[in-house]
Each structure stands twice: as structure tokens, then as C-alpha cells.
């Protein structure tokens, strides 16, 4: 009984703090926007040049000049501002975004992240992912714990080409939550998903993990 996508997003939402400026990747991270805890104000950045991203427009009110980085139509809020892509990535690279939540294909125990290409498959490009993981001071990955074939996505080393080296601070999977030290001192399991056993996590994890909190 691992966490559902919504439960993973809800767990990621608990990493938000009041006043945070946050960039959300596509997929499960997008769901986090619907789960911002009560009493906390979070401002969403979209790397195509917007701060203060609002909800989807009502039917019939979409504006083709107003999209997010996932190319979805969105709306603006009272606090919204627009800027160029150069200014947007200055904001990102300069460390002004507090938190980036994004998906991954693989994360290694040293914080390496792979999520942009698979050798032999068509390369679509990294978009803004490399800039986000390099520039945002805190990066949280939300991903399934294993490949469909069962292989662990939390690994000793990434086998896929990297998006960033030593850039991940936390991994939230359907099985639990792992803290990673970017400087390489290791991975610590800090939370187990409801209905999941420590043995199941151990069996499905390739990375060397400190399980001491639970044993």
C-alpha cells in the first residue's frame, strides 16, 4: 500500500514554507500546487517568464499569450509579474527561488540527478531542468521508487546522463522520504509511507541508505 501520486504530492507540499518562491516541474510536482497547506503563502514561478502563477483559466477564457513552462494555459494573480527568459533564469541561477520540486528518472546517493535523456531514445532536450537544479538552493525530487521492471531509481550512481551533479536534497517516492547530503555524506531514510515496511524499502533500494531511524 505505497503512497498514491496525490499522497506523494501532499508529502512534497509539506516541504513548502510560508513566503517561499517555488518552481514546480511537470507531472506529480504540478499537483503540489493544489495541496499548499492552510495559512501558508507560496508564490509559483514559471521559468518562461512569470512570477505569481494562477490557476487554469475558466473555459472560454484561455489567453494564448499566457502559458506556463509546461505550455498549459494559465491565469495571472494580483501579485503577478512578467519578465524575459534571461531575467527568469537570472532569478533561478542566482538562487532566488527557494525550492524546486521536480520528477526524475534516477537519483544517486551523492545527489546526482538524471531526468532528461535516455541514450538511444529521441532526445527532446533538457529545457530549464539543468538550470533549475544548478541554481535553486533546495531541490526535492518526487518519483516512483522503482522502474516498471522493478529496478531501483535511487541508485549508487546514475547510469543515465546527468541533469545535475550533487543537486538533490530530498527524494520523495511512493515508499518513503529520503534526505540526501549534496556534499556526499549519504542518504538517510526519514519517513516510511503508510503500509510500507522497512524490509520492502531495503529490498527495492539500490543506494546505500542510513536506515538507523527505523532499526
Amino acid at each position: 500500500m505505497a503512497w498514491t501520486r496525490d499522497e506523494m504530492a501532499a508529502r512534497a507540499a509539506r516541504e513548502l514554507k510560508d513566503g517561499f518562491y517555488v518552481n514546480l516541474g511537470i507531472g506529480i510536482p504540478t499537483l503540489v500546487a493544489n495541496m499548499i497547506p492552510e495559512g501558508i503563502k507560496v508564490t509559483l514561478q514559471s521559468e518562461n517568464g512569470m512570477l505569481g502563477m494562477g490557476p487554469f483559466p475558466y473555459e472560454g477564457e484561455a489567453d494564448s499569450d499566457l502559458i506556463n513552462a509546461g505550455k498549459q494555459t494559465i491565469t495571472e494573480l494580483p501579485q503577478t509579474s512578467y519578465f524575459s527568459s534571461a531575467d527568469s533564469f537570472g532569478m533561478i541561477r542566482g538562487g532566488h527561488i527557494n525550492l524546486s520540486i521536480l520528477g526524475a528518472m534516477q537519483v544517486a546517493e551523492n545527489g546526482d540527478l538524471a531526468n532528461w535523456m535516455v541514450p538511444g531514445k529521441m532526445i527532446k532536450g533538457m529545457g530549464g531542468a539543468m538550470d533549475l537544479v544548478a541554481g535553486v538552493p533546495r531541490v526535492v525530487v518526487v518519483m516512483d521508487h522503482t522502474e516498471k521492471a522493478g529496478d531501483s531509481k535511487l541508485k549508487h550512481q546514475c547510469s543515465l546522463p546527468l541533469t545535475g551533479k550533487g543537486v538533490v536534497d530530498m527524494v520523495i517516492t511512493d515508499l518513503g522520504v529520503f534526505e540526501i547530503d549534496r556534499k556526499g555524506s549519504g542518504v538517510v531514510l526519514i519517513e516510511i509511507a503508510s503500509g510500507v515496511t522497512l524490509d520492502e524499502i531495503k529490498a527495492k533500494t539500490e543506494a546505500t541508505v542510513n536506515y538507523s531511524k527505523f532499526s
Partner: protein
């Protein structure tokens, strides 16, 4: 002074394009792309183009048309999904693609326009993007050296422009257009509204006229939406901006 104003895209492009040239084009996905200029570029039939932009259009839209017409030799972009012809051409070697992280691409274009031949960024350090590039430590962190980019012709789309070439963009259609406007030897702008000097408030101008050599009022804008996402009026669901 000789006017910067042209009647349409074809006349604005005339004399500026040639085989083998480098073209930058504004836009993010299909948002804020110079639709009229792209069509005119296709109709010009110039070949062996190097195209710089965040994307290369999408199936049936935007720069895809120039690609489908066999005019593009090389692409510098950050994302090329949703583009089947490009996928085929890339796989069979018909088009070379140089992938750039989106922020690095934006900054390289800004640098090119601002007389900065190279700069350092943490983006891409330790990845294939850094292969063959100089890396270097500053204050204990590793960075990659990236170079500035310029183009023979820059094509941009703004919301409003005046006859002096001053431009104002609208919402997220701004994206790559402002930097691209600075990085072209010849920058050509298409606008939805072309007004007289004095009608655009000087504090609100995003691109000063100095960067724009030619300008015209575009027509028949399609502004195709790649991913129409809406919410019903009676629901709080499907809300990417969250509660606040």
C-alpha cells in the same frame, strides 16, 4: 530619416536573408513567435540555415514550417519535443541539434547582444553539456564557460511597437524576444499594433528602438495553443497555481 516601417513580412525580410545565415527567432513553444516572419522566411526559400531559439516550432506550427521545407541545417535549442519532422531529420542526420540548457541559451543570447564574449555558469557542470567546454572553480564551486551568441538576422514578435522600433511585449509572450532583439545584426520586429512615437510610455518600453532595424504590423495571427487547460466555473480542481 529612412523609415524603419515596412508594409509586411516579405518586404521586411527582403535583402536581409541569405543561404547559410544564422537566424534567431523569439518565442517559447508557440507563444510569442513571429508568425508572419516565419512564413516569409519559409517563402524566401533560403537554405542551410542555423536556427537559434528555445524551440523549433511544433507539428504544423511555427518554425516547423521552415524545417519541413528543408531549409534548416542546424538548430540551437533547449527543447524540441512535439516535432515529428525534426525527430526524423535528427535521427537520420539531416539536421544537427545543439542542445542548450534553457537558461544558458537565454544568457548566451543576452551576452551576445551585450558584448560579452563568454561567461561562467553552474548550469550543466558535471553533465554532457560541459563536455569539451572549459570548467573552472570560483569560491570552491565549479562552473562551465559558455560563449555569447549573435545572429545575422533576429526575428521577434511584440504586442505593440512604434515607428522608432520601440517594443512592448504582452504577458509570457515576452520570453526570449527581448534578448533576441539585441543579438541580431539585423533585427526585424512584427507587432500586433503599430503606433506613432509618444504613444508607448517611455518607462514601459521593453526593447528600445535602437535594437530594431525594421518593423511592420503583422496580420492573421493564429496564436495556436499547444495545451489548452481550463477549469469549469464550479470547480476548484485542476489548479496549477494552488490555493492562496
Amino acid at each position: 530619416m529612412q523609415s524603419k516601417v515596412f508594409p509586411n513580412a516579405a518586404s521586411a525580410l527582403a535583402g536581409a536573408v541569405f543561404d547559410g545565415m544564422t537566424v534567431m527567432s523569439g518565442g517559447f513553444g508557440l507563444c510569442g513567435i513571429p508568425e508572419n516572419l516565419i512564413t516569409a522566411l519559409r517563402d524566401s526559400n533560403v537554405k542551410n540555415l542555423t536556427v537559434i531559439g528555445n524551440n523549433v516550432g511544433a507539428d504544423n506550427h511555427g518554425m516547423w514550417a521552415v524545417l519541413a521545407n528543408g531549409q534548416i541545417k542546424k538548430v540551437l535549442a533547449s527543447y524540441v519535443g512535439e516535432n515529428k519532422i525534426l525527430e526524423q531529420l535528427f535521427m537520420n542526420g539531416g539536421v544537427e541539434i545543439e542542445f542548450n540548457p534553457q537558461g544558458t541559451l537565454a544568457e548566451r543570447i543576452r551576452a551576445g547582444g551585450a558584448g560579452i564574449p563568454a561567461f561562467y555558469t553552474r548550469t550543466g557542470y558535471g553533465t554532457v553539456i560541459a563536455d569539451g567546454k572549459e570548467t573552472r572553480q570560483f569560491k570552491g564551486e565549479w562552473y562551465v564557460m559558455e560563449t555569447g551568441l549573435v545572429a545575422d538576422v533576429s526575428l521577434v514578435k511584440a504586442w505593440k511597437g512604434d515607428t522608432e522600433g520601440n517594443l512592448i511585449y504582452r504577458k509570457t509572450a515576452r520570453n526570449f524576444n527581448p534578448m533576441i532583439a539585441t543579438a541580431g545584426k539585423i533585427t526585424i520586429a512584427e507587432v500586433e499594433e503599430l503606433v506613432e512615437p509618444g504613444e508607448l510610455p517611455p518607462d514601459q518600453i521593453h526593447t528600445p528602438g535602437i535594437f530594431v532595424k525594421r518593423i511592420f504590423k503583422g496580420s492573421n495571427y493564429v496564436k495556436h495553443i499547444e495545451r489548452l487547460t481550463t477549469r469549469p466555473r464550479d470547480s476548484a480542481a485542476a489548479d496549477p497555481g494552488g490555493k492562496r
